[in-house]
């Protein structure tokens, strides 16, 4: 894929992250100044197990977690790749870096998706 297309995806992923990470930050970290029912449905803190389970039952959270995971991994690793490529490494190094970031991205995406799905089934079974 040409770099211009990847750059467009980079900006698109940024827009997705802006919305979903903004939501995540609001729910998980700004609950004291912006209390939402979804932050602490069982009371206590947003990271308390009962709240994690309660949110984890919701398909909306499962889908948005995976979407955010994919968008953030692509945006982050593509950004890092661009920073390193500005040092004008040789063709071999570029190829290695591409392979490394692609592999790291896929592994982390697989781990995160597995965790989101397993967390969903644990929550549904709780």
């Amino acid at each position: 894929m040409r770099d211009q297309h990847l750059w467009t995806w980079h900006i698109g992923a940024g827009a997705v992250i802006l919305v979903l990470l903004g939501l995540h930050m609001t729910i998980m970290h700004l609950d004291t100044i912006l209390p939402l029912a979804i932050s602490t449905p069982q009371g206590g803190k947003p990271i308390d197990w009962l709240n994690v389970v309660e949110r984890g039952k919701d398909v909306f959270f499962l889908v948005t977690y995976v979407l955010l995971l994919g968008a953030a991994l692509f945006h982050g690793f593509y950004g890092l790749r661009n920073i390193l490529f500005e040092l004008n490494p040789g063709a071999g190094t570029k190829k290695t870096l591409n392979g490394l970031f692609l592999a790291a991205g896929f592994v982390l995406f697989a781990v995160g998706t597995w965790a989101a799905w397993a967390g969903f089934t644990v929550a549904r079974g709780a």
Binding site: D3, N82, I83, A118
Partner: protein
């Protein structure tokens, strides 16, 4: 990113970090990259640690217990502040890239004017908004 077919970045790290005569926006560029790298590092750790919820309540409690205390609280806030900056500056960059807030094309008549002057109000406005968000978020983290 468009493939660099022109002059290579011979300055290396200095070329990334130094603003030189390029002004305010050039330092925003440097900070955008630094916050991006920090956010990526945090995100990778975040995936690993929060994946523990898939293993049940005890694993979750153990994982959350390993990242508590004032140091992690401050670190969490820095991540939030980095997010506020990176997100808002990212919106500015996308707007400028799409041709907004850079003014209309003008004749290149000496003394030359730069479109950076046209962009400056957007940059300042966005940074004020990011600062407000970081402060409001800070109040939330202190509570």
């Amino acid at each position: 990113m468009i493939e660099n077919k022109g002059r290579p970045n011979r300055l290396g790290l200095k070329g990334w970090l130094g603003g030189g005569r390029w002004g305010f926006e050039r330092y925003l560029y440097t900070l955008h990259r630094l916050t991006g790298l920090g956010l990526l590092a945090y995100f990778v750790l975040h995936i690993v640690i929060t994946s523990s919820r898939a293993l049940g309540e005890h694993a979750w409690a153990r994982a959350m217990g390993s990242v508590t205390g004032p140091v992690f609280r401050v670190g969490e806030y820095l991540v939030f502040a980095a997010f506020a900056f990176h997100a808002l500056n990212g919106i500015r960059l996308a707007l400028v890239e799409l041709g907004f807030a850079i003014g209309n094309p003008i004749e290149p008549v000496y003394p030359y004017r730069t479109s950076v002057d046209e962009q400056r109000p957007l940059a300042i406005g966005v940074m004020i908004f990011a600062a407000i968000l970081a402060i409001v978020g800070g109040i939330g983290f202190l509570k």
